[in-house]
């Protein structure tokens, strides 16, 4: 009973919040509702017993990602109200609703969990974080390390792209001019 209520409550909440994030003209509203939507999604994770994932969602998404976006927003000096020429709402709704219908249709069919063989079965002996740690450092060690490289790339990329060195472009400046600069 609790699960049902929680599910429907969270569902309505996320859908509503994300709709606001998508449709709102006010950047602050959009941003805030996106962040709250993420928090609610963490709620789903707790609901299905993925505790650790829920925590990660809260820390990484709400904590880090949204903070980054907030900083970005300040940097870009986005005014409160966007002067955005949006694509015509009718068209977007047609496409969006069709997409939603198709997805619903797809996920509507029967799924029989008993026929599935779990490759990483959860056991009752371990708590969720323990099990996650176990899986992450055995079976998924390689992707974990690759993800580390990926974050490193993102870091280097972010630093380089946002760095001061990008302000003057060697590509656009003629070599003769560059020569002079070097000699200075």
């Amino acid at each position: 009973m609790f699960e049902q209520i929680a599910f429907y409550f969270f569902s309505v909440l996320t859908i509503g919040l994300f709709l606001v994030a998508v449709f709102s003209k006010n950047v602050l509203y959009a941003m805030t509702s996106l962040a709250s939507g993420m928090v609610v999604i963490a709620g789903f994770f707790f609901l299905v017993g993925a505790d650790f994932l829920g925590v990660v969602q809260l820390i990484v998404y709400v904590g880090a990602v949204m903070a980054l976006y907030a900083f970005g927003m300040m940097f870009f000096n986005v005014t409160k109200n966007l002067k955005e020429k949006t694509t015509s709402t009718g068209w977007v709704l047609i496409v969006g609703v069709t997409a939603a219908l198709l997805m619903t249709l797809m996920f509507l069919g029967a799924i029989n969990p008993d026929a599935i063989y779990a490759s990483l079965p959860m056991s009752d002996k371990m708590t969720n974080p323990e099990a996650v740690g176990m899986a992450l450092f055995t079976k998924y060690l390689v992707p974990f390390e690759v993800a580390a490289v990926m974050l490193l790339i993102a870091m280097i990329g972010g630093i380089v792209l946002a760095g001061k060195k990008m302000d003057t472009s060697l590509t656009d400046i003629k070599d003769e001019v560059l020569q002079l600069k070097d000699e200075e």
């Binding site: 694509t87 496409v95 069709t98 997409a99 198709l102 249709l105 797809m106």
Partner: protein
């Protein structure tokens, strides 16, 4: 050994590409040198392969790749080095090497020097594909390749303008090139039909597969196939009635004439008959037709050579005539003799042509032998070479021509066809006459060239040295006849004279010899001292007939070319312009317009792109759902 096969085959290609990369730049001496060197490498590889085959007697079969493997059609791109192809390779690469070196001197002042070498090497490459291929498809590719290259080479001086037939019987290089190409295309159609018949019935074009399947084919099929193949051979080897292009092809630079129109390309037809001998051996009617046609062409061409005044054309006619001999031998079943004559002929005919090139060079491109005479003083080396080659051509022992030609005439006797034999003997006499008529008129007698203010000079030394291998082979090739026989019968059916003929061999040989010598004597009497022209003979019917090549070129023009041109004009105006052109234009326009329209999709706006993406995804999902419902 496999790598040698590739080296022999692809060195000319490399040479062609190398020279081709300099095609647009001014003359560079090293282009010629490098090309010649690469050709020499190809020759050396061929020689080693030949030796290998001689010692081990094992053909080398390499398979480059599955060339066309589409559905059931499976043509592997394979090459075979067996007794026949190695003989051809040896001859082709040797002569090509000499001709390449020769061309360095001959094309010295031509501004398209580099381009010339590119074409020449490309030609050799095509020819090697033709002879080395292990299947009819590869042979056909090489066949077309040499056709294209000869078109390029005949028309090498394409900038020369058209003139009328009275001034230049072949009108212009580009006209001659087109004529050669078109005539060959007509014949190729026949060949293509032959290949289709074979493929239809056998399901393969691989030589060994085809030949092993012959017993399962009906006589009618075999005969049709043999006929069709021979039509192809007729075109490439310029047999009557498709012979006119060969003499006109003399418009090309002389090294080209030596290489293509004497030693290699024109022998491709003979090569085809020899290659496909299992087919021809089982179709006696076709074979007899080949022999008869060959004999006829031998005589027919020789007769035209009797009165011609153009140095190169005389040699060209003699080539035609000798090709006739080869076909006669092949038609009579003496394939190895045909091949032997092919090789021997290649040496002395190339020598003759290159000698003619020297003369032409000395005479500032003058080719009329009536305007020459007494050149032996100025051109000792060339005189020696041409004399030797003419002796060989006339069939005087112990030179190469004697052995090979005599064997063919003997074969005709042996087969009991006395008419063929007699014709061939008479032709031998005519051959001797016209070749020495040409030698005497060119090198002996009064020095008529003074009237035209020409100061002849001998060719470069290295060119003469380069020609020496040919001279040596023209002399000694005949002695290898028995050895060649032992070698080649590993692949080709052995042909030996019957006991009866064997008895008479000495007498038969003496008859031929006597006829040949009398031909030379006649020429000596008539032309050695000086040129005596008699108005009466030259205005006589026969002389006129011969000098105008039996009016065949004129006839072709009147009966075929002109009406065809009229028809083409009509077609062009009514059909082509209105229907074909309009359709092609419409298609092009449609494509272009739809291109322009679909550009709208690439609006540059990311939002648009994302829309496309979403629509695409939804459409794909819809398609999958619909196909599920339909299923």
């Amino acid at each position: 050994m496999e790598s040698l096969v590739y080296i022999a085959l692809f060195a000319p290609l490399l040479s062609s590409l190398f020279a081709g990369s300099f095609a647009m730049t001014p003359k560079k001496q090293f282009v010629g040198v490098v090309s010649s060197f690469l050709l020499f490498i190809s020759f050396a590889a061929s020689a080693i392969l030949g030796y290998h085959l001689l010692v081990t007697n094992e053909p080398i079969h390499v398979k480059l790749m599955d060339w066309i493997a589409a559905g059931d059609l499976n043509i592997s791109f394979g090459f075979i080095v067996d007794h026949v192809s190695v003989t051809m390779m040896f001859v082709v690469t040797l002569i090509s090497t000499v001709v390449h070196v020769y061309s360095i001197g001959y094309m010295d002042h031509d501004k398209s020097f580099n381009r010339f070498f590119s074409y020449l090497s490309a030609f050799v490459f095509s020819m090697l594909i033709l002879v080395m291929s292990d299947n009819f498809a590869g042979l056909f590719i090489g066949w077309e390749g040499v056709g294209v290259c000869s078109w390029l080479l005949i028309g090498f001086w394409y900038h020369k303008a058209d003139v009328t037939r009275d001034i230049n019987p072949s009108i212009s290089p580009s006209w001659a090139a087109n004529e050669a190409f078109i005539m060959n295309r007509i014949a190729d159609l026949g060949m293509l039909v032959g290949l289709f018949i074979i493929y239809w019935n056998v399901g393969s074009l691989q030589y060994d597969v085809v030949f092993s399947a012959i017993p399962n084919m009906t006589q009618a099929v075999l005969t049709t196939a043999a006929m069709a193949l021979f039509i192809g051979a007729m075109g490439k080897s310029a047999q009557f009635p498709l012979h006119t292009w060969l003499t006109d092809a003399m418009e090309g630079p002389t090294p080209v004439s030596a290489l293509i129109h004497a030693a290699t390309m024109v022998t491709a037809g003979v090569f085809l008959v020899i290659r496909a001998n299992p087919i021809f051996a089982l179709t006696p009617e076709v074979s007899y037709f080949i022999a008869a046609l060959g004999t006829f062409v031998a005589f027919f061409a020789a007769s035209m050579a009797l009165v011609n005044r153009d140095l190169k054309r005389i040699i060209a006619f003699s080539t035609l005539s000798q090709l006739g001999y080869m076909f006669a031998a092949a038609g009579l079943g003496a394939y190895w003799i045909a091949l032997f004559h092919l090789g021997a002929h290649a040496f002395f005919k190339a020598l003759l042509f290159l000698g003619a090139g020297n003369v032409m060079h000395a005479m500032h491109d003058e080719l009329d032998i009536f305007k020459m005479g007494g050149l032996k003083k100025a051109m000792r080396g060339t005189y020696l070479y041409m004399g030797l080659a003419s002796l060989a051509l006339a069939g005087i022992p112990p030179l190469a021509g004697f052995f090979s030609k005599d064997a063919i005439i003997e074969t005709a006797f042996n087969e009991g066809s006395l008419i063929l034999w007699a014709t061939l003997v008479i032709t031998a006499g005519m051959t001797a006459f016209y070749s020495f008529r040409q030698v005497f008129l060119t090198f002996h007698g009064d020095e008529r060239y003074h009237e035209f203010g020409i100061h002849p000079h001998e060719m470069y030394k290295y060119v003469l040295v380069a020609m020496s291998p040919l001279a040596i082979l023209a002399v000694i090739a005949g002695f290898f006849k028995d050895g060649f026989n032992d070698f080649i019968i590993n692949l080709l059916p052995n042909y030996q004279m019957s006991e009866h003929t064997h008895h008479l061999a000495l007498y038969l040989g003496l008859i031929v010899l006597a006829v040949a010598v009398s031909g030379i004597l006649l020429a000596y009497i008539k032309y050695n001292k000086r040129l005596v022209r008699s108005e009466k003979t030259e205005n006589g019917f026969i002389y006129k007939l011969l000098a105008n090549q039996y009016y065949i070129p004129v006839l072709y023009e009147a009966v075929i070319s002109k009406p065809y041109a009229e028809l083409s004009k009509l077609m062009w105006k009514n059909v082509d312009m209105k229907i074909v052109d309009a359709t092609v234009d419409a298609i092009a326009k449609f494509l272009y317009r739809s291109g322009d329209k679909s550009r709208g999709m690439q609006s540059g706006n990311l939002s648009n792109y994302l829309n496309w993406m979403a629509i695409g995804a939804i459409a794909l999902l819809l398609v999958s759902i619909l196909s599920l419902i339909a299923a």
